[in-house]
């Protein structure tokens, strides 16, 4: 379905993303985890062909074996919204305040010539019902400010889903929502994915969210892949020191009465990252080799890019 091969993004010579490869099948979900600045959103924008000016992407992004990086703007416009849908983090600002909800959901359908305006509005109503908005007929005529954050995110999902895209990119779709609403939205996204058979790229900084929605997880740090694999295996027995550090910093059932372990130091700016593993400066097992060379891929129950995988300190 979607294959990303050796995706690299540079900004004026500084690598933002180095050699990222992954694939998502129909109906599957991949979780992309990382801190702010890890390059996860840039990867999503590269897939959409919406990188900010000055950012250069290389490698291959294959959607049904068509290389998106080789396409011109007009062809990309016909793919965005039609074959790839995207949901954003801020539901409060992701809807245009001057257009009614119904018009906004119908927009991609009309834009891509899927249906006429009147038919698209009827479709918008049934989409609203599917994403769990009550009284969809009345809500069609509402303006975004009349809806709550959770409702707006549902509308965003309806918009992104309207053309039945083959791939859905969800960039932190629940980070701005209350925990109870978060849970409802995650369930909704899972149900829609299973019903429609969409491939989903789920981007989040929140491991708990990823664990709920994605079979497979890819952990990013400083623009490089750290570890990837089956989500449950990766969370139960992480092999990369960064993943281990992330999990040790989270509260869970067994951590009662003990202190949470923060990862020492802070994320270095991209321009200071050298050739080696971007995590080496903060890694408890980092050595001279980690700083100088790209770490090799080691495969056990997960795939980790590390010289010293495995042992938990």
């Amino acid at each position: 379905m979607l294959r990303v091969e050796h995706l690299r993004i540079r900004f004026r010579g500084t690598p933002i993303l180095r050699d990222l490869s992954f694939a998502i099948d129909r109906g599957e979900a991949l979780g992309l985890v990382g801190e702010s600045g890890s390059g996860k959103s840039m990867a999503a924008l590269a897939i959409m062909g919406l990188l900010p000016p000055g950012m250069e992407a290389s490698g291959r992004i294959l959607l049904d074996s068509e290389d998106l990086l080789a396409l011109d703007e007009a062809s990309l416009c016909s793919i965005r919204g039609r074959r790839i849908g995207m949901i954003f983090q801020e539901p409060m600002t992701a809807l245009n305040p001057v257009h009614r909800i119904g018009e906004q959901i119908a927009e991609p359908l009309v834009l891509h010539g899927v249906m006429e305006h009147a038919e698209a509005l009827r479709e918008a109503e049934s989409l609203l019902e599917r994403v769990g908005i009550e009284e969809p007929c009345r809500r069609l005529h509402s303006y975004p400010h009349e809806l709550s954050g959770g409702q707006r995110q549902r509308v965003m999902i309806a918009m992104a889903m309207s053309c039945k895209p083959a791939l859905l990119i969800a960039d932190e779709p629940t980070s701005a929502l209350d925990v109870t609403v978060q849970s409802e939205i995650l369930d909704l996204l899972r149900d829609l994915r299973l019903q429609e058979g969409m491939a989903t790229l789920f981007i989040s900084h929140d491991l708990a969210v990823i664990a709920r929605v994605a079979r497979h997880t890819l952990v990013l740090y400083g623009g490089a892949a750290m570890e990837t694999g089956d989500t449950i295996a990766l969370l139960r027995q992480p092999r990369h020191p960064y993943t281990q550090g992330l999990l040790a910093a989270l509260p869970h059932g067994r951590s009662k009465g003990t202190r949470l372990q923060p990862i020492p130091g802070f994320v270095p700016p991209a321009r200071l990252l050298a050739e080696g593993c971007p995590f080496h400066g903060r890694c408890p097992r980092g050595d001279a080799r980690c700083a100088a060379e790209q770490p090799p891929l080691t495969v056990e129950h997960t795939r980790a890019w590390c010289f010293h995988p495995g042992r938990v300190e």
Binding site: M48, L50, E73, A74, C77, S78, I79, R80, G81, R82, I84, G85, M86, F88, Q89, E90, T93, A94, L95, N96, P97, V98, H99, E107, P108, L111, H112, Y143, H145, E146, M156, M159, A160
Partner: protein, 275 residues
């Protein structure tokens, strides 16, 4: 929205004044109490009376009829000059916003700064000395001065709107740059532009009055509020109403458009909708 608008005091007052000016200008197209350009030296400088409600000027022309024709003149200037500024200025400003920081953006914005550096009336006089005096050239000069005003506002407001997530969402939905400007940016800056347009409309009326006062705007015998003011100077002690009536007309029209713009800003904001 209409109900909300009608409860907005400054909108209602502004609308009433604007409609009055529009109505008078419309009426003047078909009917004025007297011929606005007909001179009757025997009836010169008459104070307001039953035959000449607002009196007559030094050539015996009916002041009310001249004011009515002057309203047409003022509206013509406002519509065309603001139209020039709005269409060209908004197009330039939005184009600059999509290419923020580029050479085109810099060129457009520095050109705007350049025109702002000169006092508008002085440059209008300069333009008119080149093009020659007259109504058409005055409108052109005022219109040219409206371009940078709208270009700047359109650029700034567009940049603000384009930073919002719904622009990202529209891109992700497959809209082209032009489509996004047309469907998502323009409706969101519409309110600001309309408010500014009404202010510029008022300013254009003032500018035309100023240029005509200086004798390089509307040429005789076409009546203009500015020229009427100029003509009245000589007779200020003798016939003060000759200055008062056109002055009041200018003030009323300017006030009306300003109030209308103010009211429109509130009415057009969907967030101020009552639940």
């Amino acid at each position: 929205m209409i109900g909300r608008a009608l409860r907005h005091p400054s909108f209602v007052l502004g609308l009433a004044i604007t409609l009055l000016v529009l109505g008078v200008a419309f009426l003047a197209t078909f009917w004025t109490p007297h011929d606005a350009t007909a001179m009757r030296i025997s009836a010169r400088l008459r104070p307001p009376s039953a035959t000449n409600w607002l009196g007559t000027d030094q050539f015996g022309r009916d002041v009310l009829s001249m004011l009515m024709m002057g309203a047409r003149n003022a509206l013509l200037v406002g519509v065309v000059a603001v139209g020039i500024g709005l269409s060209i200025g908004v197009a330039l400003g939005m184009m600059a916003a999509t290419r923020e920081g580029s050479l085109a953006d810099e060129a457009i914005m520095r050109l705007c700064d350049f025109t702002f550096a000169f006092p508008a009336v002085l440059t209008a006089i300069l333009i008119l000395t080149f093009l020659g005096p007259g109504l058409v050239n005055a409108i052109l000069a005022i219109g040219i001065f409206n371009i940078p005003v709208f270009a700047r506002i359109a650029r700034g407001a567009s940049l603000q709107v384009m930073a919002r997530d719904y622009i990202r969402a529209a891109q992700a939905a497959g809209r082209s740059t032009f489509g996004i400007l047309h469907r998502h940016v323009l409706p969101n800056i519409r309110g600001i532009l309309i408010v500014q347009a009404s202010v510029q409309f008022a300013l254009a009326i003032l500018a035309e009055a100023g240029l005509s006062y200086l004798g390089i705007g509307t040429q005789p015998p076409n009546p203009s509020w500015g020229r009427m003011l100029n003509d009245s100077q000589t007779f200020l002690a003798q016939a003060p109403y000759l200055a008062i009536f056109p002055g009041a007309a200018i003030a009323l029209a300017v006030l009306g458009f300003n109030l209308l713009g103010d009211g429109l800003r509130d009415v057009l904001d969907p967030k101020s909708k009552e639940r």
